[in-house]
Symmetry: none
Subunit: 402 residues, 2 copies
């Protein structure tokens, strides 16, 4: 049986109830080989444990069992979008990640500075991993390039990585990527792969000509390779979908970008988790849905830093009283995916999930952890159920059918 976003949308109610979605990025983990406990299980989390004890828990599957999601699909599923059909391409995600103010008609392209030899063959696909400082100088150099049917904007990502955005034109992502994925051959041409992409191809060729003219004689970076052509997915704004006024408090640009793509107001939320909580507190009456994002558990997990991830989760636990003091009608605490420190990368493991509201049927779970959530009252379910569960537990959904 399919349940469409439209049907969910038709059941939502506008009320005064306020809700919070607190995402501990990369929350789920694996047992420490010696300790036998996961990061979340090892962390001292009295406040989360109390919420788990009074609320109802479960395990959330971001995409489907066995799939490790990137940040895009992980978050979009939590926001109630199909993470597969609304997947965001590399160019657009890179643009969001560096805080680029991407618009829905923009086409973003991931650039790598590279080195060509005299015969125009690629000899280094990363131009010797030039410094970010050098990258910035090159981007400044290239930013004067003009195309006929639109505008270009450029931004440094890091080292050899940069982002090109085509805007104010009619662009299409269906163009050949130019990275040959090997050395000793020339870059591919950005050929149009469909009729609609012809003007985009022309624009990209003009841009490449400009690159050649401006840095073709330099070293080591004397050209660029292009891939990940993508725009923002066409997402119905969460405000319209759920009859909410949604706002995001996130310190990292990519998550602010994802929130903006989903139609949230992006609050000035400072650099730390406490800043984010304070921001929500100060805007409590202006919105009724708050997405609070906390990056550190994922970052420490990717570092392979078990103890660091434990500490970051304890930090998250410490802000729970401040959040609960605002008396949200319902709060969900979960992750967008697992990032076990043992593994040092995103993983497919289902993610601990808790919801607290006065309309829960509390389960027998008394602590927040991977193993305890396995016997939670919500069972193991799709992350795309999150918004529906959050809104219904706050009384913001009406009955379906007579």
């Amino acid at each position: 049986m399919m349940f469409s976003q439209e049907l969910t949308s038709s059941l939502t109610l506008q009320t005064d109830a306020r809700v919070v979605l607190f995402v501990l990025d990369g929350l789920g983990g694996l047992p420490h080989p010696k300790l036998g406990l996961t990061e979340l299980e090892a962390a001292r989390t009295p406040n989360l444990d109390e919420l788990a004890s009074n609320g109802v828990t479960g395990l959330s599957v971001p995409v489907v069992p066995g799939v490790s999601p990137g940040s895009g699909p992980g978050h979009l599923a939590l926001f109630g979008y199909d993470p597969v059909s609304s997947n965001i391409g590399r160019g657009a995600l890179s643009a969001l990640g560096i805080g680029f103010n991407l618009n829905s008609s923009d086409l973003a392209v991931r650039l790598n500075f590279c080195t060509l030899d005299d015969s125009n063959n690629v000899i280094d696909r990363r131009a010797g991993r030039i410094s970010t400082e050098h990258n910035k100088q090159l981007i400044k150099e290239l930013s004067g390039i003009v195309i006929d049917n639109g505008k270009i904007e450029l931004a440094t990502e890091s080292q050899h990585r940069a982002v090109l955005v085509l805007r104010d034109g009619d662009f299409c992502a269906d163009v050949q990527e130019t990275d040959p994925q090997q050395t000793g051959v020339p870059p591919l041409r950005p050929e149009p792969l469909c009729k609609d992409a012809e003007s985009t191809s022309v624009a990209l060729c003009q841009f490449l000509q400009g690159v050649e003219d401006l840095i073709g004689d330099m070293t080591p970076a004397n050209f660029v390779l292009m891939r990940g052509y993508s725009g923002l997915p066409d997402l119905k704004p969460m405000g319209d979908l759920y009859k909410i006024s949604p706002a995001c408090a996130a310190a990292y640009p990519m998550y602010r970008g994802l929130a903006k793509a989903a139609g949230m107001a992006v609050l000035e939320a400072g650099d730390t988790l406490i800043d984010g909580v304070n921001t929500i507190c100060s805007k409590w009456t202006d919105h009724d849905f708050f997405f609070l994002h906390y990056k550190d558990p994922d970052a420490r997990g990717e570092d392979g830093d078990f103890d660091g991830k434990v500490a970051s989760i304890e930090q998250a636990d410490s802000v729970i009283p401040d959040i609960m003091n605002m008396c949200p009608s319902a709060i969900v605490i979960t992750g967008d995916h697992s990032t076990p420190a043992n593994l040092g990368q995103h993983s497919w493991h289902p993610v601990p999930f808790l919801i607290s509201s006065k309309w829960c049927v509390p389960d027998n779970v008394s602590g927040f952890g991977e193993r305890s959530c396995m016997s939670g009252g919500l069972g193991t379910f799709s992350a795309t159920d999150t918004m529906r569960l959050l809104l219904s537990h706050a009384g913001r959904m009406k009955k379906f059918g007579a």
Copy 2:
């Protein structure tokens, strides 16, 4: 993954095994604020507990997590139909609810008697909530109205509410509802919203003209507002789907109507639960699938009557020995949705579910309740799995694939 009704159907077997689906309407609940137990947990249910102990339990999700179903979707899911695509409109459900013998080609319309002023503006959308007795007199008055391309039938629901059924014509529900949802403006016209609805619009205009002619000078009810145009959904009969001879024992008209829509034989089942059980006993050799419906848990839940709901569940428990004496090959006991007395309305919470058969893998659950079923062997699953589980546990489904 989709599991189609056709595939289920292709796997069913005709055998002598008899099965029972016992629906305690609105079974699921929320913990009592002081007691800490739900209605089902608080009830003394030795027979249900024994079945749970020897059988296997779980939690059933009627539509999708977070959605509170009406009676229509809740039951259709249990019968194995997609509750979204087979959703029944308000007019048809009202007709079923008053025991109207609705046919598949009928178009049912929910009527509200209303009051118009001299300028034909609605001044009371419910005509002062006239008495049911007055409603019956008006319906008698209006029942002589004749339309050109079919017949009309009318029936009182209660107070200002009535049902109009168009039959013996070619009708379409795609017509403008006439309730303006506000006072001080005239009723809307039943304009056709597509080409196929033109003759339906003509019929409804003729009916409205008749209403004006017959009661236009009366007070307070001098006109009607029309909404919820709907027919029965086009359901493949359960008998064909599952190779069963299905029968319904239900005291309330709406559930008999739903059962009839799903192709069940509707038994004369009296007014009480015991009557229903006795009816099934007397028809045990005539059918092999019995849907037993018990309304009281939902009614007491909607009343906000925790103790009353507890008592109704104890009443259900008391008939279990009589049912088990018939030796069904498998029995499912569950609800169509939750109706927590705390909430006083249908809710989204998953519903306790048990199946008993000699082919169960009994789980470690020894009592029938929300919290115990959370750790049941069936997990948390879609209510649309119910028929398949029931039939397979009775040996009425064959292997899929070689």
